[in-house]
Symmetry: C2
Subunit: 419 residues, 2 copies
């Protein structure tokens, strides 16, 4: 490489997104990039000239290893969707002025659907205006809902955490006896796609019966049928554990969580705020059956639990970062790196690049035939798909009993000028 | 030992309670016990003649290692308080009839305050009636609220999980930017004692600023002052993370969680149900400041996260189990094994036995001078106390990407007759 590289992180954080950042940095350096800049808080921060020289923070190989083990977005993230080019050219002019000033040869953006939309628009604009910077996307999302890639970095670690935690919850739930039984409802992220919720099935094994019921958001949820099913199960066992997606909806399209409270507010990004699905169902079951219930939300822990990361996931995230730089260096633009699975057993997976126009804004859901006929559990096909992605561990670097992370003080968030 | 040993688990589960069970089993076997029975669901199960021969389940050294890594109570637990002897002698007659039938030389009970009350009453009864069984208690509780012992097995692992998770939450909370900032409220267990909530301070280190505020249940909570403090902090930083005990109360004694909802129901054990403290405070802050807020309950994960256990804790739990058997074998009864810290740095700790009459029903709270003057953070003394207890890891035995546990199918829960 002759020029510089800039890399940004966008969307919800994961346990693996910084491993992709490490992969971008190391590969760019190996390929001769003079500087590797990190945009702070994604494209939104870049427009405010907020960026850092990554070599300030990654000074040696230990730092690289720490970065791979640091959850959440080291550079900060944003949720910002670029306007259409014809709607607002000024935004593009501003961005390209900065890229020009920094002599950026490759622009790498690590993110989900919205981020791939950014790569698409910027590469389109560059091609149309003859600007030489090349734009490559790195997939990242715990939700695993990106099209064309077998899976997304970040998903495997979240799935491992969910499988592990649900298993520990199941163990916990059999300790105390309640006259009418105990029903534990575990709420898992994934508004539209059930990849994370389905991972609760990973708790099942020779030493664990696994959750009893799993409800994905892809299928309509029948509250009454659910109550009956739980009642049936309680006749056979003292503790029932249910995994539900935060996004399960009634046949009429309303979210289940809307039943319990008056949450019709939307968050800053125009998304309906979801929370309380498990709470609502726990109250419903308590009311219907009179048994003891509890609700457990895995909350942001499931996307930031680096201490329980999957080795396969962290390594793939790193490779994907490296592959993005390689693709840009070899002249690609407007592409996303994808993971292509070659085989399940033994698991083999490689990277490819695909046209980002075919990816952006498309959501990959769990196929209907990976859920059983009753719609209350995932099938063996689902489990065979996810199982390889949670293999192996990444030992945290423990300092005084707690995992060490690579640290960027928040003071660096202010706008900076290039040296 | 010439006779048999019986061991039970009682109260809330922890990540270390099974390590004490492993210590009891191994030491009893080493000292020549013919049989080691496990009462199922504690003294309550024993009264229904529900017990197992532990050698059915622990067949080799690998099983012992798995048991040490298995969260929650392998034998099942109960919350049952024995009546006073003068109130109901029949209960005692029934228990001692079973102990006699099983030729029990040593009765070991692993639990918290209520369990030590059980040891006290049974040993009193045995002494009065001339019954030869000896009764020894093993401390266990994540709450760390038992008197006379420096700390309780189970606390260190919960503290390590809390420190680790709070650190990951802090990382996560700095990713996205919100115009008026983000306030994350983490709700931690501990109804009356702040040992667990204070452990959130372990997140603080060279690479992490730690939580901004920590509120223990020992001190009255002023909602308005809290709001002002958060507002002040938001002027200086974009993300504020607060750790609160589930049991914080207003100066008038009402629980903070009562403010948000009409929860005046009590659970099966006559305890007020607590939940929603973080939820309430998050809504309060959102309303007062208009910033983005989120609430995270660490829930039962904090007591069952064996995958993140502390090595010091798991080893001490094992030692305490062994010391209980040794004490009984040497003729002690009506005693609890306690941990006595010899030094902080290097950390050294040994076991002793103390008269259970001095322990039962006494609750150890965080000393006032281990909380700062403003009542919103723990001091260095607190951190020096807890830090040694979270050191070292216990690698889980990973099978197919998920930690393996020792498994007791629930079918064994039914009453059994001795062979």
């Amino acid at each position: 490489m002759k020029g510089n590289v800039i890399v940004g992180q966008s969307g919800g954080p994961t346990a693996a997104i910084n491993s992709s950042l490490a992969g971008v940095y190391r590969t760019a350096k190996d390929r001769g990039a003079k500087k590797v800049y990190g945009m702070l808080h994604g494209i939104q921060g870049l427009m405010q000239e907020r960026y850092i020289d990554l070599s300030q923070f990654i000074t040696n190989e230990l730092d690289t290893e720490l970065l791979k083990r640091t959850p959440a977005a080291f550079l900060g993230s944003c949720r910002y969707k670029l306007p259409e080019i014809f709607e607002n050219r000024e935004v593009y002019d501003k961005i390209f002025e900065i890229l020009n000033k920094l002599d950026i040869e490759a622009f790498i953006y690590i993110g989900g659907n919205d981020s791939m939309d950014t790569i698409k628009k910027l590469s389109d604009y560059a091609i149309v205006t003859g600007f030489p910077t090349r734009f490559i996307g790195c997939p990242k999302t715990i939700d695993n809902d990106l099209a064309l890639t077998d899976h997304t970095p970040g998903y495997g670690s979240a799935a491992k955490y969910i499988g592990t935690s649900v298993k520990e919850i199941i163990r916990d739930s059999f300790c105390l006896e309640y006259s009418k039984g105990l029903v534990s409802i575990v709420e898992i992220m994934g508004r539209n796609a059930g990849w994370l919720t389905g991972a609760a099935a990973l708790a099942k094994g020779e030493d664990c019966t696994g959750p009893d019921l799993i409800y994905l958001p892809e299928l309509p949820f029948d509250v009454e049928a659910f109550g009956k099913k739980v009642q049936e199960l309680l006749k056979k066992k003292p503790s029932v554990v249910v995994a539900v997606s935060e996004g399960i909806r009634l046949p009429d399209g309303r979210y289940v969580c809307e039943l319990g409270q008056s949450v019709d507010f939307v968050d800053a990004f125009g998304h309906k705020q979801l929370s309380g699905t498990a709470n609502y169902l726990a109250s419903y079951i308590a009311g219907e059956i009179g048994c003891k219930t509890r609700s457990i939300e895995l909350s942001s822990l499931q996307r930031s639990a680096s201490h329980c990361a999957s080795r396969v996931d962290i390594l793939e995230a790193y490779q994907v970062g490296g592959a993005a730089v390689k693709a840009a260096d070899e002249g690609d633009t407007g592409k996303m790196v994808v993971l292509q699975r070659l085989s399940d057993d033994p698991y083999q997976c490689g990277t490819e690049v695909k046209d980002v126009h075919k990816i952006a804004n498309d959501e990959k859901l769990v196929p209907r035939d990976w859920v059983n006929d009753s719609g209350n559990y995932v099938t063996e096909d689902f489990i065979s798909y996810v199982r390889p992605l949670i293999q192996g561990d990444v030992s945290p670097v423990m300092v005084d009993g707690i995992p060490r992370h690579l640290f960027r003080p928040v003071e660096f968030d202010a706008p900076q000028q290039p040296e």
